[in-house]
């Protein structure tokens, strides 16, 4: 193919995503292919293990999103064995999930995504006095003096002068698609640096509820931390105060930095309110149960599917529906016993590697055949987008008051019509809207936990079915969570006290999936078509849209071998090669 560009990898964290895009003579993308270039073997690792320990392995599926896999895993086992967790434990889990969302969304925005829109080097030309004026006009955030921004500018200058740009070395600085005035670039860089301080202060919930961080502890049946106001080893008044402080820091940053920044930057990039849509189909498994796991009426974030942009109707998908929920491998490096045109329901899922790709080094993947280590999950044989936009649209359509209000006010501020939500910018704005909603929920959960403690309902662990002797001979479970980047499902089959089968469908597998048995593209692939590149050798526009999904390939696929030749790269400076075993 004549005009094809390759980006490999697109993520800046562990994990490998490769995008191949075909361009027409105007440098507009006509076809795009998304490939996960590392294999994941978790399913095979978990077989024959004690289901109560599965979370500890699942937690390591992804280097970055450890919590979400642990939660989905314990919920899957609880679902299979019919274990109900105490109310206080449920509130604590909701708080763990809420913290994960807020931390992750803010970090994604500043550390990864903002740099697609903020030109770090241009910040050197800013007038710190004007940046200060902008800051003071958009929020009450205290770090706003001209002297403060002059100091940040000096820091950036020192970094650039030292040649140690490694932190910012992936950027296409000076690219014509950067549109912000230098003063806003300086503002963005300042907040990039600030959120590094912020992050260490807002992980207290995980540290306290999980006993440690990173890699907090979890337990099937509840949370591993007792509540006892008279014990240093338990959740007590002192620890609650630390958590309250942590929640306040999160919400201050969301209200005074994140949301105002988004609204300040977005007007310069309104073309992205009509670019990057993708599928128009959305799925969420739902999150924040206030009752039992499967009580769908008591999920604060509803379980739902939206089809063809239709914001009048939300369908409730059933993850146990073996006809509708399937994974396909027609274009993936796996084989099914029934043949590669078949789709398999996760409880019956198979993970048998079948690498048929070219021997490296190679230029392009053979996209007519198999070309990715990701499977293609489909709901009712349709590709779905998962993530913040899916969740916000489902909340919006089902009339969640705060979401409706926030969405309308963002649209109004940007003078954009409702269909503008189906876009790269829509995805990025939805992430911020959702963060604000979850910040409010976290305060609510905290108050509920305190109320439980006051009422002496302090049980955090249900040991009733801890003993495998109490389990049925065979049990099957579904564990869901909404990870920050989208719907996550773990399907487990337990037989004779051990794991018989385990399948994980992660958000990035939905979004980054290759074409399926009907040749329907996945969300990334669809979202890039129609975008024009100013400089094909520096495909910033592709990064913007892909990053708006918050890709995390670390969990979607995993490492085989990373030594040797360049497969193909554009400005990312990373080498990758396959070993076909």
């Amino acid at each position: 193919m004549a005009n094809r560009i390759v980006i490999d990898p697109v993520t800046r964290i562990e994990g490998h995503l490769r995008i191949e895009a075909a361009l027409d003579s105007e440098n507009t993308i006509t076809e795009a292919y998304s490939a996960g270039t590392m294999v994941r073997g978790i399913e095979n690792i978990l077989k024959k293990r004690d289901p109560r320990e599965a979370w500890a392995f699942a937690q390591r599926i992804c280097g970055v999103c450890t919590t979400v896999h642990a939660i989905a895993s314990i919920r899957a086992v609880e679902d299979a064995l019919g274990i109900k967790i105490p109310k206080a434990a449920n509130i604590m889990r909701n708080m763990i999930i809420a913290q994960q969302f807020i931390h992750d969304h803010v970090m994604h925005f500043y550390i990864l995504h903002a740099l697609d829109f903020v030109d770090v080097v241009s910040a050197l030309e800013a007038d710190p006095g004007k940046t200060s004026e902008i800051q003071q006009s958009i929020s009450t955030w205290p770090n706003s003096s001209p002297a403060y921004f002059a100091e940040v500018q000096q820091k950036v200058k020192a970094i650039v002068d030292s040649g140690q740009l490694s932190l910012f070395s992936h950027g296409y600085w000076g690219h014509p698609a950067y549109k912000l005035p230098p003063e806003l670039n300086l503002l963005g860089v300042a907040h990039y640096l600030e959120c590094l301080d912020w992050q260490s202060r807002v992980t207290k919930i995980h540290t306290i509820f999980g006993g440690k961080n990173p890699h907090p502890n979890f337990v099937v049946g509840g949370v591993p931390l007792p509540i006892d106001m008279n014990s240093d080893q338990a959740l007590n008044a002192e620890k609650l105060a630390v958590i309250a402080d942590s929640i306040k820091r999160m919400n201050d940053f969301i209200d005074q930095v994140y949301l105002p920044d988004l609204l300040a930057i977005a007007p310069y990039y309104l073309e992205y309110a009509s670019l990057g849509e993708g599928l128009g189909n959305f799925l969420s498994w739902g999150e924040f149960p206030e009752g039992n796991l499967n009580d769908l009426d008591r999920l604060i974030f509803p379980r739902g599917v939206i089809l063809n942009r239709d914001l009048k109707q939300v369908i409730t998908p059933d993850p146990r529906d073996a006809v509708k929920m399937k994974e396909f491998v027609t274009h993936s490096w796996y084989k099914y016993r029934q043949g590669d045109e078949a789709g398999l329901f996760p409880w019956e899922g198979e993970t048998v590697f079948n690498y048929t790709g070219p021997k490296p080094p190679y230029e392009f993947l053979k996209v007519e055949g198999k070309y990715s280590w990701l499977k293609s999950p489909r709901w009712n044989e349709l590709p779905m987008e998962v993530g913040p936009l899916a969740r916000v649209l489902i909340l919006y359509t089902t009339g969640h008051e705060e979401t409706v209000k926030l969405t309308n006010s963002v649209l109004e501020a940007l003078k954009a019509p409702l269909p503008a939500v189906f876009s790269t910018l829509g995805r990025t704005a939805a992430r911020a809207i959702e963060t604000k909603v979850i910040g409010g929920l976290l305060e609510k959960f905290y108050d509920e936990l305190v109320a439980e403690i006051k009422a002496s309902r302090t049980e955090t662990f249900n040991s009733e079915k801890w003993n495998p002797g109490s389990w049925p001979k065979k049990a099957m479970g579904f564990g869901y969570t909404e990870a920050p980047r989208g719907a996550l499902g773990h399907w487990v089959v337990i037989e004779n006290k051990k794991i018989k089968n385990y399948q994980v469908v992660v958000p990035t597998t939905w979004n980054a999936s290759p074409r399926d048995h009907k040749n329907q593209p996945g969300a990334y692939e669809a979202s890039l078509v129609g975008t024009r590149l100013a400089r094909p050798e520096q495909p910033l526009e592709i990064l913007r849209t892909i990053h708006s999904f918050d890709p995390c390939l670390a969990c979607a696929v995993h490492l085989i071998d990373a030594r040797g030749q360049v497969v193909g790269e554009v400005g990312t400076g990373f080498n990758l090669v396959f070993k076909s075993d």
Binding site: N44, Q199, P214, A562
Partner: protein
């Protein structure tokens, strides 16, 4: 007081790739109680930027990691201070993508530890699976003993 941190890196789901985490566990067994109370053992997995607070809060940092130096499997290598930057810069570790940034950010923010030491081991098998390959078992124990030597050199008990 600034913290003394031992950081085990790697993904235990990819065989020897998790060598740093296993070495950390071996070290935990060797450490005398008195010394254990003075330091923090952090199982860093492959967390990337989330590890920044552990690096920045430390005056002394000891990293245990899988290291692709092209040597025979099981070969243990040690690097110190400036060599470490180079180590991650040349991408000898599989965790460079996240960890190189962590070190760079700490440096930029002037909160780089006073002393940084790295003990690495050449893996044999890093395909999906749990547990170390036979050739790595002894070297990982050796890493832990070397780690104990380094920690003793920090003279925390005097």
């Amino acid at each position: 007081m600034k913290r003394k941190v031992v950081l085990g890196l790697g993904n235990i789901l990819n065989g020897d790739e998790g060598a740093g985490v296993y070495a950390l566990k071996e070290l935990e067994k060797l450490l005398p109680e008195k010394l254990k109370m003075k330091i923090e053992l952090v199982d860093g997995g492959v967390l990337g930027l989330d590890l920044l607070p552990y690096v920045e809060g430390a005056s002394h940092l000891l990293i245990l990691d899988a290291a692709d130096t092209g040597a025979a499997p099981g070969t243990v290598v040690e690097y110190q201070d400036e060599e470490i930057n180079l180590f991650y810069h040349q991408r000898l570790s599989w965790h460079q993508l996240g960890f190189q940034e962590v070190l760079a950010v700490a440096k930029i923010r002037h909160s780089y530890p006073d002393s940084v030491y790295l003990i690495g081991v050449q893996p044999e098998n890093i395909s999906p699976g749990v547990g170390l390959s036979q050739k790595l078992k002894k070297p990982v124990k050796h890493m832990a003993r070397r780690a104990l030597d380094i920690i003793r050199d920090w003279k925390l008990l005097s």
